[in-house]
Structures are given as C-alpha cells and as structure tokens.
C-alpha cells in the first residue's frame, strides 16, 4: 500500500485547500448556513469548473479518471473548512450510484454541475441496517408505485433526483429484493419536509405515497439494489472518514493556537503540562485518523465486498471513537469560549460528533469489522 500522492493528486489537494482558505472564511460560511438553501450554487459552479465534481469518476463515465482517493482528498480539505456544499450526497453517494448503474446521461449533467442528488437510505426503524427496507415498490402497469417513509435524506430538498431503495421482494430485513429507484423532484405523491441538521447541513424527511415510476427509473437491476447500495455507503464512509480527518487536523491547529494565545493565571494555557500532553494526544489521534481515512479510500476499491467492508468499517470505527475524544478535548481546552456558537471550534465539534452517527457509529462498525473476521492478511 502506497500512501504517496501522485502529482495530479497533489494538484487537486492544493487547489481545494486554496479554495477553502481563500474563498471559504468562517463568517461567509455562517451566512451560507443561514441562507435559504444553506449552501452556494456559485461555489458549486466553481467546483464543476475546477473539475472537482468529475474528479472521482472514471474517464468512460465522463470523469477525470480518479476514484475514492480523489474524493477523500476533496473531502479532507472540505473538512478543514466545514464546507456546506453537498459533495457527499450528490457526488460521492449519488454520483457513485449513477456510475454503478451506468447512467452516463445523468453523470454528464452531474460533473457539469447541473444536477443535485440525494440518497434516501435511512428508514425510521432500521437504525444502521441497510437491508432493513420497509418502503415498498409495487409493480403497476409495467412500472412501480412506491410507498413508505425515508428519514434524514441529506440534500433532499435541493435534489433533482432522490435515489430511493424500496422493497420489490422478500421480507423486511432481506438483502435480496431491494431495488434502487430514481425519484424525480416534484413527483406526484412525493412529499419532502426539509430542515437544517444540528451540524449545519440540510436534510429532509421523505414521504412516498404511491409515487408512480417507470421501469427506466430503476437504477441497476430489480431486486439487486442492496450490493450497489452497500458499495455506495462504503464509499460514503471512506469520504466522511477523510472529512473527519480534515476536521481533526483543523482542530489540532486551532487548539494549538488557542493554547498559545489564551492566558490564564498570567501565563499562556500552553504552559500547562497537562494541556500540552492532551493537545499532543489530540494531534496523535488526528495523524492516525488521516492515515486510516486514506487507507479506507484505497481499499474501498477492493474487488471483494468483504475486503472493502473491513477497510471502511475499520476506518469508521476508529475515527468515530477518536473523533469523540478529539472533539470533547478541543471544547474542554477552549474552556467557556469553546461552548459558544461564535467560536468556530464548536461547529467543528458538532460536525465531528455527527459524523460518528453517519452511516453507523463506531460501535456498529467495530462489530461489523469483527463479524467479518477482523483484518485478514492477503497472500
């Protein structure tokens, strides 16, 4: 396994880092968060122009020939700026599924910045089980009618298409019998209830009441949506792991600076050995998190689903737990100031906290990793 970036990857990393530091100051982000849509279409256009939307896709899908490592590079840098734009739902999750389902037409629009997507994988009673799908798709006139509830669909309100896993066969928790549907914005019977999340992004509750779809709205094969969905979520995990690593890197830097600047008892906080060592522990966790995230980004492309799952669950379990510690320590070391909405660090803390929940928390993924037999040495 080689952790060195290629020259193209270095260029990509530099360009996203430059955007975050120059065009994404925290006060601007605050305004974006409070705006109606919650993010900037203008930024999105820049992302398209800079090729970031095309970065993780193969060339024959209209991409630039990259993959999950490129997505991780973007997401790590976005983590450092808490970028609000829906790269995860539209590009990583949605785009990944379009590619897997061979929808080059939609992908083309996506990389041009003309398409927003949402993946509505959460079901109210499923907790973190992707196979638990109660939403039903009944066959009707050569097409399908979808009914059910989906929760916390990120980017749901902005999405031109919502990708909805629904049951076409089998029992509520069966892996087989799940089909992925592309549900167009404004489809009759589709109701959205949009809201802001505690970590500042946008999501929606999705109600489907007899939403009528045609056969071409199926993404992939009927009944065989679960493997695609699981692969997409695994890529999502690799991507948010990189985002978390970026957040941790930012937290290390701001906490270090705060400790050096802030005085108590007449001396900088950084002169207290207890805080020094705790800041070091946070740094150590952050370094490891970055390594874990890129390891997952490399291995999520593995041919065997179990290898892929082991790698991303390892990263998610480790980073979820480390993220709790890093976030909690950062707030503690910032003292009362860290508790305020005003200080950026509280926003990083909140996002880092919620990333642990996203796609399954660290306990869930440690169990998944263990159930797959833990790490298996190949060869």
């Amino acid at each position: 396994m080689n952790f060195a970036f290629t020259d193209e990857q270095k260029l990509l990393a530099d360009s996203v880092a430059r955007f975050v530091s120059k065009d994404y100051p925290f006060e601007a982000r605050r305004k974006l968060m409070a705006s109606e849509e919650g993010w900037s279409r203008a930024h999105w256009k820049s992302f398209a122009e800079l090729g970031w939307l095309a970065a993780p896709f193969a060339e024959d899908h209209g991409g630039l020939g990259g993959g999950p490592v490129e997505a991780a590079i973007v997401m790590e840098a976005f983590g450092k700026g808490l970028v609000l734009e829906p790269y995860l739902p539209t590009v990583v999750l949605g785009g990944g599924l379009l590619a897997a389902g061979g929808r080059r037409d939609l992908l083309k629009a996506l990389v041009e910045g003309a398409l927003q997507l949402s993946l509505a994988w959460v079901e109210p009673k499923a907790r973190f089980d992707l196979a638990h799908v109660e939403t039903r798709a009944l066959r009707k006139d050569g097409g399908f009618a979808l009914s059910g509830q989906k929760g916390v669909a990120f980017n749901g309100a902005a999405a031109d298409w919502i990708i909805v896993p629904a049951r076409t066969a089998g029992g509520i928790k069966d892996k087989q019998g799940i089909t992925l549907f592309l549900v167009p914005k404004g489809a009759p019977g589709l109701t959205l209830r949009p809201y802001r999340t505690v970590d500042g992004v946008r999501a929606a509750e999705v109600a489907l009441e007899g939403v009528t779809l045609k056969a071409e709205h199926v993404l992939g094969e009927v009944d065989w949506g679960h493997p695609l969905l699981e692969a997409a979520i695994d890529r999502g995990i690799a991507a948010v792991s990189a985002e978390a690593a970026g957040i941790m890197g930012h937290i290390v830097a701001t906490t270090r600076d705060y400790l050096k600047t802030r005085k108590q008892f007449g001396v900088p906080l950084a002169s207290f050995q207890v805080l020094q060592h705790r800041a070091v522990d946070v740094y150590v966790l952050s370094e490891q998190a970055t390594a874990m995230a890129y390891r997952a980004a490399v291995l999520v492309a593995a041919r065997e689903p179990a290898d892929r799952a082991r790698a991303v669950s390892a990263a998610k379990a480790w980073i979820g737990k480390a993220g709790r510690q890093v976030g909690q320590e950062a707030i503690q070391m910032h003292g009362g100031m860290g508790m305020t909405e005003e200080m950026p660090v509280s926003h990083y803390f909140k996002r880092l906290t919620m990333i642990d929940t996203l796609f399954g928390d660290h306990r869930f993924h440690r169990r998944r990793f263990a159930a797959l037999g833990g790490h298996v040495e190949k060869d």
């Binding site: 907790r127 508790m339 169990r367």
Partner: protein, 398 residues
C-alpha cells in the same frame, strides 16, 4: 439502596415522594421529562410550592427558615426531587449568596435579602467570571471605585447563567487595583435594575442562550451593599465555594436521565427487537450505570462521614469531577441511542407550545443539543482541571 434505611428515614422519603407527586405541576414535570426549555415562571412556581411547604432551603439553618434536616435527610430529599423530574432549584440565591449573607452580611442585609430569597420573590445571579478570567477567578478586572456612600462599578462579567431573569447579582469586584491579585477584591450585591447594567445573551453551540454577558457602565452601588469588609472579598468567595457542594453530583437527576435513556432505548428499534434488548447497547448502558452507582456510593460514604460530624472538604472536588463526567456520559448515551434522529435541528420543538408533528420520534429533538450543552459541566464551576489541582494540593499534598 434502602437496605437499611431506618423506619424514620423511610417515612421521610415516602413523605417527600408523596408531596412531589401531589404538588409538582404536571406541565412542569412534562417539560423536564422531555428536555424542553423551562421558563422563569416554571422555576418560580415550583420553588414557591417548596417554600410553602418549608422545604425550599434544606441547607439553611432552622432559624432562617431551613427545615433542620440531617445530612441523610437532605441527601434523600435531593435524590427524590431529582428523580421526580422536578426542575432544579436555582442555586444562586438559596445556595450561594444566602449563606454568604448569613455569615458576613449586616443585619440590614439579612433582613432585606434573606426573606425574599427564601420566598423566591427575588431572582439572583452570579457575577464571578470575566472574559479574561475564567478558571483564574482572581484575575478579575471589574472595578468598583468608592465615591462617598457608593461605589461606581465598571467592567464586564460573563457566563452569567440566567441573568436575563435576574433581579440581583452578586459580584466579585476589584476595589484596590494596586493590591496583589487576590487582595483588593470585594464582594458586592448589585440591583440589576440599576442604570448602566446591560445583559447580553451568549448563544451557546446548542442554540440556547442560558448564559449571558453582564456589562457595568458607571453603575452606582450603595456602600451598604458591600458584604464583608472591603478588599476581603476573596475570603468571602472562598467561603462560598467551600460551603455547599453536597448536591453537586445531582444523583437524583442522573437517575432520572438514566431512566430516560432506558425509556428511549426501549422505543428505538435495532435488529428486530428494541435497542434496550440489544446486548451491545445494554452493555454500553451498564458501563454508565456502574459509574452512577460508584458515584452514589461514594457520596453516601461522604454523607455518613458528615453525619459523624466531619465537615466535607476536598471531596467536593472529587464529586464535581465525577458528577460532571457522568452527566456528559448520560447525554452521550442519548445521542447514541437515537441514531440518525440526532441530526434534525429543531430548536422550536424544544419550546413549550410547539404544535407541529415532530421530526422523527418525539423525544429526539433535544438530545443532540443536550449533549452539546452538557460539555459545559466539566468547564464551569471551577473546571475539572482546577478541581484536580485542588485535590493535588489539599489531598495529595503536592
């Protein structure tokens, strides 16, 4: 843990329980249970009920209107109130400034303030922390310049809890700027309605605004509002800090929270059953529950020592550390329990009278904000690092 509660104590506990059951207003109980925002009136209503019963000030001597309970009775009372889901009693008047006035105040101050504190007629807040002096209390800069029969106060306090509701504030102010750090500080009572007092809310990361900045701009304070001798405020402050810590851990409330965790885990689904039946999550709950039991047992040992006549000392720091960590663990369990429905941010749903259907389960909205908000417990009231320093000095002798 009533294994050998005496018949008298058992009767006392039953009386407390029956009283709360009968007298705690249902709407208040409901708000607390659901983690909704309490308003000024909610607190005051409940405190007046306790006042009427003579139970509002367990820590006060009988002559001032305290109930004259033993340490164990107070422990039982605190636990029952906490478990019941009653609001906490706002401590700034009853628990903090009142003992100071009793010990250091003039007769006039006692006559003026104590009855109104007891009856919850007057709401107090605490003016200790300043922007440049958080854990380092003695670094405060707010200046009180004596001019004849009054002080002119200029400066700023921060992290002032519920100052927006307060009628009075007790402050540490610097009366002798030439003196060394802990000298030259005085303890002053200030009417919040005085011209020049401004309260500005601080929005915390959970979206709430429970804490405030309080600004003093040429505020005139009569010299008669000085408590204790001028420049001896540090002694007064230390007395206050050491005076009342037994309920700092709030075991009753922790038990209430734990019951809430189990209630929510029983409602959440996982793997076909409830989350409470999930062996892994059950084990996770047990981890926190064991810490609760350990803290409770430790407190009961301290109460036993107190009953034996020993004044509680540095143990208060131990209880502060573990009690605050426990509260954080409990709110952390709650966000773990609720999974994806920790995401929706719906501050309105935390207000009483919000009538739209909830996003996700009806208990979900306050859980992530509660976790975020509870990060404060290890910072305020003397950060846990400061508490460790106290234990290092006074218990370990370092």
């Amino acid at each position: 843990m009533n294994l050998d509660l005496s018949p008298e104590l058992r009767a006392f506990r039953d009386e407390v329980r029956a009283f709360i059951k009968a007298e705690l207003p249902a709407d208040i109980r409901d708000k607390v249970r659901k983690g909704l925002q309490l308003e000024r009136d909610d607190y005051v209503r409940w405190q007046k009920i306790l006042y009427k019963k003579g139970w509002i000030a367990p820590n006060w001597p009988k002559e001032y209107g305290g109930p004259g309970w033993t340490p164990m009775q107070r422990y039982i009372f605190d636990e029952e109130v906490g478990k019941s889901g009653a609001p906490r009693v706002i401590p700034f008047g009853l628990v903090m400034v009142a003992p100071v006035i009793m010990k250091f105040g003039t007769e006039a101050q006692k006559r003026e303030h104590l009855p109104k504190i007891l009856s919850s007629e007057v709401w107090w807040c605490q003016g200790y922390s300043e922007p440049g002096a958080g854990s380092d209390l003695a670094g405060l800069k707010t200046r009180a310049l004596r001019e004849g029969d009054h002080y002119t106060v200029n400066g700023q306090k921060t992290w002032t809890t519920l100052a927006q509701y307060a009628d009075w504030i007790f402050c540490l102010v610097r009366t002798d700027p030439a003196a060394k750090k802990q000298e030259g500080i005085s303890f002053l009572l200030i009417d919040m309605k005085s011209p020049g007092v401004t309260v500005k809310p601080i929005v915390t990361m959970d979206g709430g605004a429970e804490v405030n900045e309080v600004f003093f701009d040429n505020v005139k304070v009569p010299v008669t509002n000085l408590v204790g001798p001028e420049n001896q405020g540090w002694t007064v402050a230390k007395y206050l800090l050491g005076h009342e810590r037994t309920n700092i851990a709030d075991i009753g409330r922790a038990k209430h929270q734990l019951a809430r965790v189990k209630e929510i885990a029983a409602a959440e689904r996982a793997d076909g059953g409830s989350l409470l039946e999930d062996e892994d999550f059950r084990d996770r709950i047990a981890e926190v529950e064991l810490d609760l039991i350990a803290l409770e047992a430790t407190l009961l040992r301290i109460v036993a020592a107190e009953t034996g006549g020993r004044a509680p000392g540095a143990e208060a720091s131990l209880i502060k550390i573990k009690g605050s960590e426990l509260q954080q663990q409990l709110t952390e369990l709650l966000i773990e329990a609720v999974g994806y429905y920790g995401f929706p941010y719906n501050r309105d749903a935390m207000e009483h009278g919000w009538n739209e259907p909830p996003i996700g389960p009806d208990y979900a909205a306050p859980l992530a904000p509660a976790y975020f908000n509870t990060r404060k417990t290890t910072i305020y009231g003397g950060s846990n690092e400061v508490q460790r320093g106290i234990l290092a000095k006074f218990v370990m002798g370092f």
